[in-house]
């Protein structure tokens, strides 16, 4: 019972840290896709006096990745129903040129305004509409959620680290007598702390395995049945096999640091 309790007191905080790390990775990947969706879905409207090539627009601001000409007759058809053909032609001839412009990255409102300024500095550009307010509020909400989740993950990791340090104190007390006796009889550090390493590495493997299985379950079973669009669409981002490696490295790093802390702070036989 004591043995199980000792392991759980180490495994649970370790798992909390690993869950935090994995949530961070998943969140980063999912929001990357979401951010890409926002970026791809976003476009600004540029109105020019004369036709403008993509190169011309890109020379004004490097964030412009593509441009699409909006057909003027389409615009006229939708607003000038019942107008004669000749009149339509005149209207079209009098209209400026409209372009839908896409960006290469997700930018905040001030950066959008900068693009607007850059474009409007050119004589050929008549007007630029960024739709900055709608775009900005979505972006701010997105940044806020991202920040809150990251703060929560860091907070969880710090609390768990304190729990691990507390558990280390218990280990230190439990193993002190054995390590002192072994030191007196000339055992080198690795032999003295060998059992601790074995236990800690086992715990690290166990915690990594359980955390990985939890996320594999979320990916393969729960995400499908949850009905949450963003999870279903980003199923692949929920867990990647390379995550097992990342989790294992983090877990091993934590246990190695923990064991060395126990070994080096255990009082010698002189005390």
């Amino acid at each position: 019972m004591k043995f199980i309790k000792n392991h759980l007191m180490f495994i649970l905080p370790l798992m909390t840290i690993l869950l935090g790390v994995e949530f961070y990775l998943v969140f980063d990947r999912t929001t990357d896709t979401y951010e890409k969706g926002l970026r791809d879905g976003y476009s600004m409207l540029v109105v020019t006096h004369e036709p403008a090539s993509l190169e011309t627009l890109q020379s004004l601001n490097a964030h412009i990745s593509s441009s699409e000409k909006i057909k003027r007759d389409t615009i006229v058809s939708s607003i000038a129903k019942g107008v004669s053909k000749d009149a339509k032609k005149e209207i079209i001839a009098a209209l400026p040129y409209f372009y839908t412009v896409h960006l290469d990255t997700y930018l905040d409102v001030s950066e959008l305004n900068k693009i607007k300024e850059d474009l409007e500095s050119h004589a050929n550009v008549k007007r630029v509409e960024t739709f900055g307010n709608t775009y900005g509020s979505t972006y701010r909400l997105f940044v806020f959620i991202k920040l809150v989740l990251k703060i929560f993950i860091v907070f969880m990791a710090v609390v768990s680290l304190f729990l691990i340090i507390k558990q280390m104190e218990i280990w230190k007390y439990g193993h002190r007598q054995r390590m002192q006796v072994m030191e007196i009889f000339g055992a080198p550090l690795m032999l003295r702390s060998g059992i601790l390493f074995k236990v800690a590495i086992f715990d690290a493997l166990f915690a990594t395995l359980v955390t990985s299985l939890f996320f594999i379950y979320i990916k393969t079973v729960w995400a499908e049945t949850s009905g949450i669009d963003i999870l279903v669409q980003n199923k692949e981002a929920l867990f990647k096999m390379s995550d097992i490696g990342i989790l294992l490295i983090v877990a091993l790093l934590i246990v190695i640091i923990s064991v060395y802390t126990v070994v080096f702070t255990a009082k010698g036989e002189e005390e």
Binding site: Q180, G186, P188
Partner: protein
């Protein structure tokens, strides 16, 4: 015969050298000698013993064991030196979560002997200290006298060059004490092991020739 232990102008102190316990002690101990160190409580007997296994360093002078000066010894050399020592404590210092047999073969485990050799030696040593039937028990299941016999068996496990014993019979009744003295006499006589015992009183039944040092007023003096 060559000196196994050599102290010259040895000063031992605590609190960064401000509290001297032993001052300017000089003595030599040869191979196979049995040595008692006595003195009043707090005179520095245990401090001297700790210095002999390198747990504390000399503040001044030199302390040489088996040709190694403990004042300048590195961590790994000290570890190696300790594998040639058998150390016995008043409070036994057994590992309570290990079986008696595992405690006894600790020095062999440290030296990297195979499990088979360890098992064979455990049987031999436990038979020697008359504890064969307790091999699989844990130290806390034994009496004080039996625990100390486990401590002696552990000290003898690797045929050490030196046995250092700190009040080995301090907590034991007369019968158990006599058993312990017998075991240490045998080790000294049969294995030519140098035995250095810190005690408050030399046992009356002791039959081997021995040397006697007394620690008094920070000095170490031989009693002739």
């Amino acid at each position: 015969m060559s000196n196994v232990i050599s102290a010259s102008g040895l000063t031992l102190a605590y609190d960064n050298g401000t509290k001297e316990v032993i001052k300017d002690a000089t003595f030599n101990i040869k191979k196979g000698e049995f040595v008692f160190i006595t003195g009043p409580s707090g005179s520095g007997k245990s401090t001297l013993l700790k210095a002999l296994y390198g747990a504390i360093k000399a503040n001044e002078g030199s302390l040489v064991i088996g040709g190694i000066d403990l004042a300048n010894v590195g961590k790994s050399k000290l570890q190696e030196l300790r594998t040639h020592m058998g150390i016995i404590f008043q409070d036994y210092k057994l590992v309570n979560e290990w079986s008696v047999a595992k405690n006894v073969v600790l020095p062999l485990m440290i030296a990297g002997y195979s499990i088979d050799v360890q098992n064979t030696q455990a049987q031999r040593l436990l038979k020697h200290v008359k504890l064969s039937e307790h091999a699989n028990k844990y130290p806390l299941e034994l009496s004080g006298g039996e625990q100390q016999r486990v401590g002696v068996a552990r000290a003898l496990a690797k045929n050490p060059v030196v046995i250092l014993a700190d009040e080995p019979t301090g907590n034991l009744d007369d019968y158990s004490s006599n058993v312990i003295w017998d075991l240490m006499e045998n080790a000294c006589q049969q294995l030519e092991t140098t035995v250095l015992v810190v005690t408050h009183k030399i046992p009356s039944i002791f039959s081997l020739p021995y040397r006697h040092f007394i620690i008094e007023n920070k000095g170490v003096y031989e009693v002739h």
